[in-house]
Subunit: 373 residues, 2 copies
């Protein structure tokens, strides 16, 4: 090649989009600690600590709880490829991009997918799932706990009952909820869940915490055909994270350092205090946006505090306005996805980025963008 | 959970196993720079620079050259899931763990796999592939350029001719070669290759550089059925790394910073100088091990300089001896894999860890282990 690029010098942004979120300095520093071998006895201790902390975050006692070596979407795929076999039926709630993605991933596993289509920007009810199931049997019933594309917080009450009625394992996408709003897999009766490191855990992107209930593990053990993905095959990976420490792939050691520190920070704050902080600042942002005359896309009762979807006012162009925010305020917010592209912004107040100062900064930037027109 | 773990304090090791390898301080520091959004205009420039540097490292002009968001094994799976469809035939050279893994991954794609089984610790010849092909047609002919399990460097001469004879795309595993020994995809006529960040690039584990020739891309575009992995589907990912910048998954931003710096260091050194350094120190280590009375597992002409497989002398127990090296010298070396487990050590001199000082340190440690018995 002609000329080598100079050393990296990324500008300092305030990340208030749908993720990656602001990363605490101690998490960045943890990531820069010297790399250990993936079978080093000291590293195995770190893995055990990460497993324990993820169980606390997920609200579960599931032994099979670990971070997959990929981003949140790899977590989604992990759940689907391990639990579904060709010909299985999956009932998937689709009221946003990530529900639609779950359905697509399930189809690529050879499953017959029944989609329960809901309004974008609204939650789904257990009765909706019951009606969509039409008294049929399913291997998996899947929903998105925190829809990153719309900012909807999905209530989990009653979902286990419907899953039981159709004989299904209950699957939840907790990518944007984990570490922000309460996640209680065991209390909810969720059998498999996945998340991402770069949302309310405030760790850089690159890891996907997952958790599987004993019942899900039984399914996994009893498969007729091998998991179609070797890389995501939990029958193999469990031997590395579990007792045998059998080599499967080389764990992303420094990313795991970052997750260790990020989980430690979350649990040191306390999950209740952390959820209260997200709730408080999320509500303040919503009130501020409404005071600026903007309309929110989700009714208050179904709104995610950590991710607020807001309509772009008529006459304001999406991309130039966001570029103005980035250039003049150093603030990143997100555009809309799918049918919301071009008419919606998504503003994240996640983890380390969820502060009173950032609410003020974001509102000041948006007010300036509106004034500028 | 009961008590939170203290902040991480990993010990300082000298990583002389089969990877992860020593990481240069500037790579660790690059990784700790502030996280950018995965669609930030500055981050998109960084991605372009990474693509250019990977092309230089791979010796290719392939536009579709990028790091996958997973470890080396995800790179392997990326190649197989994108190029193979159910019922396709794959001819795979198996003379070590990673050849066997390629065959297994290909089978999980629904391919009919013909394995060319070779002796572990020896290279394969084009005639071997020709004989195994038995005048049949194949979609893919795959081999391991640098077998991390045995320390064999596979010559690439003549392989393209055999692949042409059986109508196959030529696939090479360059996990342990990239950045250490010369890789020349275009000159060799390789259609798809993958690597890992944590070997001779001396970056932490977590990324898998891949490269696909225009012919491989044509295959990809013309698939009858969708790629079974949504996460690794290059038809989708190319839209993010290419011109459209369409969101697919959240790129592992800080890991990509590390790869940017690691690639920059490799190209600043120069690939010829870097290969010469690996050759020189690898030969010195081999000579030193033989001087200690140990037997190498691979004949000199087929030996990888950056990874040396050596027989554990009779009477010396594998695990306690490696633990002694770790505890007393801070040196990590690797055990054997598969049939070589328990009777072979694998010593890596990769990237930043490939120094005269580390040759001396490693030999001193092994001499002490032998003396201790």
């Amino acid at each position: 090649m002609s000329a080598l690029p100079p050393p990296l010098d990324p500008p300092r942004r305030t990340l208030l989009g749908p993720g990656p979120s602001e990363v605490a300095p101690s998490v960045l520093l943890a990531m820069a600690k010297p790399t250990l071998g993936h079978l080093d006895p000291r590293f195995l201790e770190i893995m055990d600590q990460i497993g324990d902390m993820l169980r606390a975050l997920f609200g579960t006692a599931n032994p099979l709880t670990l971070p997959m070596s990929g981003t949140g979407s790899a977590g989604m795929e992990t759940v689907m490829v391990n639990l579904l076999q060709p010909g299985d039926r999956a009932l998937v709630g689709v009221n946003g991009v990530f529900g639609a993605r779950m359905a697509e991933v399930a189809r690529r596993c050879g499953a017959e997918v029944v989609e329960l289509t809901g309004e974008w920007g609204r939650a789904l009810a257990p009765e909706d799932f019951r009606a969509a199931a039409a008294a049929g049997r399913f291997q998996v019933m899947a929903l998105v706990h925190a829809e990153t594309s719309t900012g909807v917080l999905q209530p989990m009450d009653g979902m286990r009952t419907v899953a039981d009625e159709c004989g299904a394992l209950l699957v939840a996408d907790c990518v944007t909820s984990l570490g922000g709003t309460p996640v209680q897999l065991d209390a909810w009766g969720v059998d498999a869940a996945y998340s991402g490191s770069q949302k309310c855990l405030s760790c850089p992107p690159g890891l996907a915490p997952v958790s599987f209930s004993p019942r899900a593990v039984e399914t996994l053990r009893g498969r007729r055909v091998p998991v179609q993905s070797w890389y995501l095959d939990l029958n193999l990976i469990a031997s590395y994270w579990g007792g045998e420490r059998a080599y499967h792939h080389t764990a992303p050691v420094n990313m795991l350092y970052a997750l260790h520190e990020a989980a430690r920070l979350a649990l040191t704050e306390g999950l209740e205090a952390r959820a209260a902080r997200h709730f408080r600042h999320g509500r303040a942002l919503a009130a501020g946006l409404e005071a600026l005359g903007l309309s929110l896309r989700v009714p208050e009762a179904e709104r995610l505090p950590q991710l607020t979807a807001v309509s772009i006012p008529d006459g304001l162009a999406d991309v130039p306005a966001r570029r103005f925010l980035l250039d003049e305020f150093g603030v990143e917010i997100g555009g809309g996805l799918g049918p919301m592209k071009g008419d919606t912004w998504r503003i994240g107040l996640m983890g380390a980025g969820c502060t009173r100062a950032n609410v003020a900064l974001c509102l000041a930037g948006i007010a300036a963008a509106l004034e500028r027109g």
